[in-house]
Amino acid sequence: MMNFLNTLDRRWIFLAMALCVGVPILVIGLTGYTFPETPTPLAEAFFNEVDTAGEAKGRRANILVALDFDPASAGELNPMAVSLVHQCAQKGHRMYFISLWPVGPQMIMESVDKVIKRHYPEMVYGEDYVNLGFKAGNEQVIKVMGIDLTTEFRTDVEGTTLSKIPMMQGITNLEDFDLIAEISAGYPGSKEWVLYAATQYNIPFVSGMTGVQAPQLYPYFPNQLQGLLGAIKGAAEYEFLVNNWVREDAMAKVLEAGGFPESKAMETAAALASKPQQVSTWTVTAEASTLGPEAKTKLIELATAPIPGEYLEGQRRMGPQLFAHLLMVFLIILGNVIFFAQRRRGGGA
């Protein structure tokens, strides 16, 4: 047995990895089951920064959304980008999309298609969101944007001069944004934004990033980086937070329309969103007596409506992640068992 394991062909390990990833995807795809996530303080900080952006100024927040990644890292980062746009759209923030990666505009288009065009068709291009596209130059682009971004981003992706775009009024440089939210796959990415934007201009900055980058960015939290999502785990946590909040927010709006005071509506919505299966029983209680039948139906609908698949990409991916991690741990232990067994017998590695 030990001899068989010692001479084990790497292809069998590849097959084991393929099965550990492939089978859970099939099972999750067919059952729709996802693992519940417990958000970490860093994901919560990311969420809260986006949530409260612009509040101090008492106006709609201007969020610079920089999607600095490409398809090679989209498996990890797309769920973050989608959830970020989802939260901004639901919150009513203005989004200014840019990218420092040549393929970034495609990533922007994908997120806009998945979230805004599909679920928020009322949002108007040029008023609620704008795509400024890609610029070559890496961190030098950030440097120029810090002084005057209109000299670097002269037109949007459609070739329209920025001064003709309504939401660009009053936007001159990075300091005109309430928050920079960035999703990064490497260089140029989070580190450059921290060094040349967040630190130099003291602008709130949150970033989601690949697993390779995440450990290197932890020292910046919380002074230079106010929120951090690391790898698919961070994506799943943030996605979970956003999905729950969106449901809660929608319920709160129904309750408010039904006569609940704002604070009471938010409190009740939070309680209902955490236990959606109990909403139908709650609607027949005395507390819900002030609500009309339409509001009640709407509440039950919100509680029971399935979350669209594109908003569950990160959480779905945690299934294969679980089995692949277990395989990795198993392989390391197995490799060591063989190593020590051999050493005891006087063999070498």
Binding site: F14, M17, A74, V141, T151, P219, K233, I332
Partner: protein, 236 residues
């Protein structure tokens, strides 16, 4: 010739570097830094052209020499030229609805264009798969190379275990018996993972960052002062 290949480039480096530094400190000069940055970004776009030109040169040489695998160089060239053609000429791209009479007014990467097709069905699957293949090799390497030979290696392995298990529900399951809000709640794997990242990882990475920052500052200074001239080549 020395003036053209040594003196002037070193002068340009020194002045360009100085401009960037003083523009960061003196508001009046910020526009200089801005201009230098704008010039740099245009040059960065030219660098893409240079990259393409280099690729063309290397593979044309391989084909003309008929060296090993020259057929694949042919594939590289065909794909390069085809993508370049459909992208530069915006083949199949719909014009901007505000200016329908200007064929080049549409988005190069807009859905439906040939360039979009090349991205969606060629570039995207290829690059995404290229990177995903590393998952297999990392598993194989873990089996063959990760050995708890000494205390340092045990620390590395132990941390990797906590991060791997603490990131998934297995970690929650294994240490579920520890009350989360009790005094030992931080010993739950998922919490231990956060603790390691925010304390030990932060300390190690911070020290590395400080070291790198010092290194970059000194290297940059050497470049600007003309002490480090390696970027100019040997001059042969």
């Amino acid at each position: 010739m020395q003036i053209l290949t040594r003196f002037i480039p070193l002068l340009i480096t020194g002045i360009a570097g100085l401009v960037m530094i003083i523009s960061a400190f003196i508001p009046y000069t910020s526009e200089w830094g801005q201009k230098a940055g704008q010039f740099f970004n245009i040059l960065a776009a030219f660098a893409f052209v240079l990259g393409g030109g280099n690729l063309l040169k290397v593979h044309l040489k391989k084909i003309s020499d008929q060296s090993v695998g020259w057929g694949y160089s042919g594939v590289v060239l065909i794909c390069f030229i085809a993508t370049l053609f459909v992208g530069l000429f915006k083949i199949g791209a719909y014009p901007n609805p505000n200016f329908p009479n200007v064929p080049f007014s549409g988005e190069t990467q807009g859905t439906g264009s040939w360039f979009w097709w090349a991205y969606e069905y060629v570039f995207k699957p290829l690059t995404a798969t290229m990177f995903s293949i590393l998952a297999f090799y990392v598993a194989s390497a873990a089996f063959r190379a990760f050995r708890a030979k000494n205390f340092e290696a045990i620390l590395l392995l132990g941390t990797a275990f906590i991060i791997l298990l603490g990131s998934v529900s297995a970690g929650v399951f294994v240490t579920n018996w520890i009350p989360n809000d009790g005094p030992f709640g931080d010993l739950r794997l998922e919490n231990l993972r956060i603790y390691i990242m925010q304390v030990f990882n932060t300390a190690g990475t911070r020290a590395i960052m400080i070291g790198i920052a010092l290194g970059i500052a000194s290297t940059s200074l050497k470049i600007m002062l003309g002490i480090d001239r390696s970027f100019l080549g040997s001059g042969d």
